[in-house]
């Protein structure tokens, strides 16, 4: 646990306890102010970017420009360009001789901006700047998500209450979260297992295979750990955020996996990338590829994650094809009805996912070498 994480924890805990001393109708705004202050102290650039982008996005959606299509396109292009520019600068900062500090929560609030723009465009949300600031400047979700939805957050603002029965569960969730991040992820995986894996002798592919398993496990521990912390603190503040993981090891196929793993991100990609591309082009494969590559780039702007996205898109297309076939072919119906099918499908799914890291790694290295 770094110093920053310790300060983050202290800010979260003091806010969660402190807000209840204020009148309930101002509490959500106090969280907004505290979040702004937190960002300004620890990352002024992040505070500035989040505030200006929120102002711009809100200004765009609230403007009564005659073509909502232009507004929505301008908003999305602005968000995507800002994201790519900052990510690009982060990668090439040493090449171009400047040093830029890490922008906190960029990937999360970019998704939230786009979500807001499209939902306003579709008429599901009535723009409200105060409420939008509350949504974007929400301390528990500012550093590591989840990509919570505006409608649910707005509803939570209107029906907040402190439930004594839920307080102990919230502390439990926070504790589990930190155990995942610090004990299992940062200590067990990085300090104990990683050096051990590096010492064992095996061929390159096997090593990459093990590395891929380790990477996925680390990703899970980090993402789900931070989500637990966010959800726990949100409960202490009277909010109920969306769950982000739902037993991903039990996934029976790749589609099922993406409905259980980092749910807020995968559902964001489904709603704001897959569905629009599919609705415009009516080409499911193209829509799936775009959605999965977007998800890859969201993790990191690199060749590795572009191949990773394509690999998952192919996997999803295979699952669709198989499901369709299984509905028509009797032998496949019999096979998928067997008792051993479910455990087999689970092992197959997990191995396909692990293999993804290996394939993407090889493909990106191959391309870079070429």
């Amino acid at each position: 646990m770094t110093d920053f994480h310790l300060y983050h924890f202290i800010w979260l805990m003091s806010s969660a306890l402190g807000i209840w001393f204020f009148p309930i109708r101002y509490q959500a705004d106090i969280i907004t102010l505290v979040t702004g202050l937190f960002l300004t102290i620890y990352s002024p650039l992040s505070a500035l970017l989040l505030f200006t982008s929120s102002l711009l996005v809100y200004g765009l959606v609230a403007s009564k420009y005659r073509s909502p299509y232009v507004t929505v396109l301008a908003g999305i292009i602005y968000c995507v360009l800002q994201f790519l520019l900052i990510r690009g600068l982060e990668i090439y900062q040493y090449h171009i001789g400047i040093q830029i500090p890490t922008v906190m929560g960029l990937a999360y609030y970019t998704c939230r901006h786009i979500h807001y723009i499209i939902e306003v465009f579709q008429g599901h949300i009535e723009p409200d700047f105060r409420q939008y600031l509350r949504y974007q400047f929400f301390l528990p979700a500012i550093v590591a998500g989840p990509i919570h939805r505006y409608a649910n957050f707005h509803r939570q603002c209107n029906r907040r209450r402190l439930d004594k029965a839920k307080v102990s569960k919230a502390f439990e969730k926070i504790l589990y979260g930190y155990v995942k991040i610090v004990v299992l992820g940062n200590y067990l995986l990085l300090v104990i297992i990683e050096p051990w894996r590096a010492t064992i002798e095996m061929n390159g592919l096997m090593n990459l295979w093990l590395k891929s398993i380790q990477d996925w496990t680390y990703l899970y521990l980090q993402f789900s750990g931070w989500t637990d912390v966010a959800i726990g603190f949100a409960v202490l503040m009277g909010f109920k955020l969306e769950e982000n993981f739902n037993k991903p090891l039990l996934a029976r196929n790749l589609i099922d996996f993406w409905q259980r793993w980092h749910i807020t991100l995968s559902s964001w990609c489904r709603d704001y990338v897959f569905k629009p591309v599919m609705a415009y082009t009516r080409k499911p494969l193209l829509a799936t590829c775009t959605a999965m590559v977007t998800m890859g780039i969201w993790h990191e702007l690199s060749l590795y994650y572009i191949f990773w996205g394509l690999y998952h898109a192919i996997g999803i297309a295979i699952v669709h094809k198989f499901t369709k076939l299984a509905g028509n072919r009797n032998y496949l119906k019999w096979l998928t009805g067997c008792r051993v099918w479910t455990p087999f499908a689970r092992v197959l799914t997990l191995n396909y996912i692990v293999l993804g890291g290996l394939v993407a790694s090889l493909a990106s290295k191959l391309l870079e070498t070429a």
């Binding site: 309930i24 465009f121 579709q122 509803r155 209107n158 029906r159 907040r160 209450r161 439930d163 029965a165 589609i255 489904r270 709603d271 897959f274 569905k275 629009p276 599919m278 609705a279 415009y280 009516r282 499911p284 669709h320 509905g327």
Partner: protein, 601 residues
């Protein structure tokens, strides 16, 4: 059983002075302030020479005023009549004339409209600035020209008389009757407190209870099961918003964020909640105890649906203004609960009789008669109405009922002409009396048509005078000029003649048949709704009987992203239309898809 003196001593205790008695949208009325206001109003009553046994009328937009005045009047043995704000001038004046109040406490706007003559009136309105008030104090007579809040603020706090007897009227409600001859129902101290004791016991109200009831204070369910029940049990009442569709979300959010224990509402609101409120977690948590439906019959379909949806038991109370509010309780205990019934009587006796007042065999339908401490003594100065309403000490409810082998009472209909719309009792005669005065109307008959939201809506069938013309809008506008908002017919049917029996009396079932013929449009839209369900059943490979228009991806297995596209493609092909990308993305249920198709066609 506690009476009001006990209740007053309990709330005068300084321990609860800081506790909220009523929480309105933005303000709170604490018990301490209530006691102080009762004291000041006691002085005001003395100033106007009003004593135990007198009557006062209150009508205001300011709910805090209505509640404090009613409580203060109760503490002084004065009977309060709360008249709805939108009462038409003729009816308001009839109510004033019949009840002979010693004082009116009404909004300034009403004073100009009703123009009560010869009755002292305190108007509720904007306060004059304190400087002005001080000047008046010096030069003017104490009470002249001052508005309610100034007057009350200037009064000293006095001890209320607590002088009343059980058979003395505590509240007075005008129910049904006609515009000129409204029937007054006096609720005595005895029946009021007997019934409050019953309700408190049945639903386990205590000082920890947090009651949500935003029904109209002019109706017994709003006043008695609201502020008076909160006062009686030392609990807190929440009135966060008015009772309409626009505030439905606020109402339901209050249940959760204010940790409501008892939520009282009418079937109309339950029906709106079912239609317009998303999510099912509003009643979760250990704080919530009972959802109680009052004032009208709850449709068993809606009842069961909401219970399944929210995972709670919905209790039902049956009663009339004449029985204070209730008498028969369905729930909360298993012994008293059977969906679709009005439960069993508690602290009240019932009889089901035929038209010769002979008890009918069990299971047979007859008129429901009731008797008990909560039953009122008789209509105010209305011998004729009382002769018809009582039989050998039993009150005739006018409802047709039967009792099953397990003693549960089922309501089967009404034997008197009465329309119950959104929990409000409406006598057709009152509407006929107004509509017949329209210059183009020769004959009129008002009936209630079944409605999924309001249970019944008021409609009028009109025969026009020969050569006269009038349209629906004219007639409805005309009705608005004389009737309260909820009594104005929602629809007018122009008919050649009204179906009549040999005696010349209108045959209501025949009239209902005449005006209830479904239109071709309705038939056509129903068929198309079924068609969409058929298409979806084919695409998602499921039985169409299991599908409903409101179903979406959460309810239909196989409606994933690909299924979504397949369904859209099938619909486009079937109806030869092309849906825009925005429309495709916006479809969240079969109903959404159906709406898009309707717009396109």
């Amino acid at each position: 059983m506690k009476n009001f003196a006990d209740t007053f001593y309990a709330i005068s205790n300084s321990n609860i002075a800081n506790k909220s008695f009523v929480q309105f949208e933005a303000t709170k009325l604490k018990y301490g302030k209530l006691v102080e206001q009762i004291g000041r109003l006691t002085s005001l009553f003395k100033e106007y020479g009003i004593a135990s046994g007198d009557r006062i009328i209150v009508s205001s937009n300011d709910e805090e005023v209505i509640i404090t005045v009613t409580c203060a009047a109760l503490a002084n043995g004065i009977c309060t009549i709360v008249v709805p704000q939108d009462t038409a001038e003729i009816r308001a004046n009839s109510c004033i004339k019949r009840s002979k109040p010693s004082l009116l406490i009404i909004d300034q706007s009403l004073q100009a409209l009703w123009q009560p003559e010869g009755i002292p009136t305190v108007s509720i309105g904007k306060q004059v600035s304190r400087t002005n008030s001080l000047l008046k104090k010096i030069v003017g007579k104490k009470t002249r020209g001052k508005v309610y809040h100034e007057l009350v603020a200037d009064m000293p706090v006095a001890e209320p008389s607590l002088n009343f007897s059980d058979d003395q009227p505590a509240l007075f409600n005008f129910t049904s009757g006609t515009t000129k001859e409204p029937k007054g129902v006096p609720i005595t101290y005895g029946s009021l407190f007997a019934h409050l004791a019953t309700i408190k016991r049945v639903f386990n109200y205590n000082s920890e209870s947090r009651i949500l009831n935003n029904m109209d204070l002019a109706h017994v369910d709003g006043m008695i099961q609201g502020p008076l029940l909160a006062l009686y049990s030392g609990s807190t009442l929440f009135r966060p918003c008015s009772l309409d569709v626009q505030h439905l979300q606020t109402l339901i959010d209050t249940v959760y964020n204010e940790k409501i224990s008892h939520f009282l509402t009418v079937p109309t609101i339950l029906s709106l909640i079912d239609r317009f409120i998303e999510h099912n977690d509003h009643f979760e948590g250990e704080h919530f105890h009972h959802l109680i439906s009052v004032a009208a019959l709850l449709d068993p379909g809606l009842w069961g649906k909401l219970q399944n949806r929210f995972g709670i038991r919905i209790c039902n109370m049956y009663g009339l203004t004449e029985t204070v509010t209730g008498g028969l309780f369905c729930g909360p205990g298993d012994d008293f609960y059977q969906l679709g019934t009005v439960g069993k009587p508690i602290d009240m006796s019932i009889q089901i009789v035929d038209d010769k007042f002979q008890p009918v065999p069990r299971g047979n339908v007859g008129e429901l008669l009731v008797q008990g401490d909560n039953v009122f003594p008789g209509y105010f100065e209305n011998r004729e109405a009382n002769r018809a309403a009582f039989h050998e000490g039993w009150f005739r409810t006018g409802d047709l009922a039967c009792q099953d082998d397990n003693d549960f009472v089922h309501i089967k209909g009404r034997c008197k002409e009465l329309i119950i719309s959104g929990g409000i009792n409406i006598l057709p005669g009152e509407i006929n009396e107004v509509m017949i005065k329209h210059p183009a109307v020769a004959e009129v008959a008002t009936v209630g048509l079944p409605d999924s939201i309001f249970q019944e809506i008021v409609v009028a069938a009109i025969v026009l005078k020969q050569g006269a013309t009038a349209n629906e809008k004219d007639c409805i506008e005309y009705g608005r000029g004389f009737l309260e908002r909820r009594k104005v017919p929602k629809k007018i049917f122009f008919v050649q003649e009204l179906p009549k029996g040999i005696s010349g009396k209108i045959v209501i079932p025949e009239l209902l048949k005449m005006i209830q013929k479904p239109s071709d449009e309705t038939i056509s839209s129903n068929n198309n709704g079924t068609e969409i369900i058929g298409l979806a059943a084919e695409i998602f490979n499921t039985d169409k009987n299991n599908l409903k228009l409101e179903h979406g991806p959460d309810q239909i297995k196989g409606w994933d992203s690909m299924g979504h596209l397949s369904l859209v493609a099938e619909v486009e092909n079937h109806y030869s239309i092309t849906l825009s990308a925005r429309e495709v993305m916006n479809i969240k249920s079969l109903n959404d898809l159906w709406s898009v198709i309707q717009q396109r066609r």
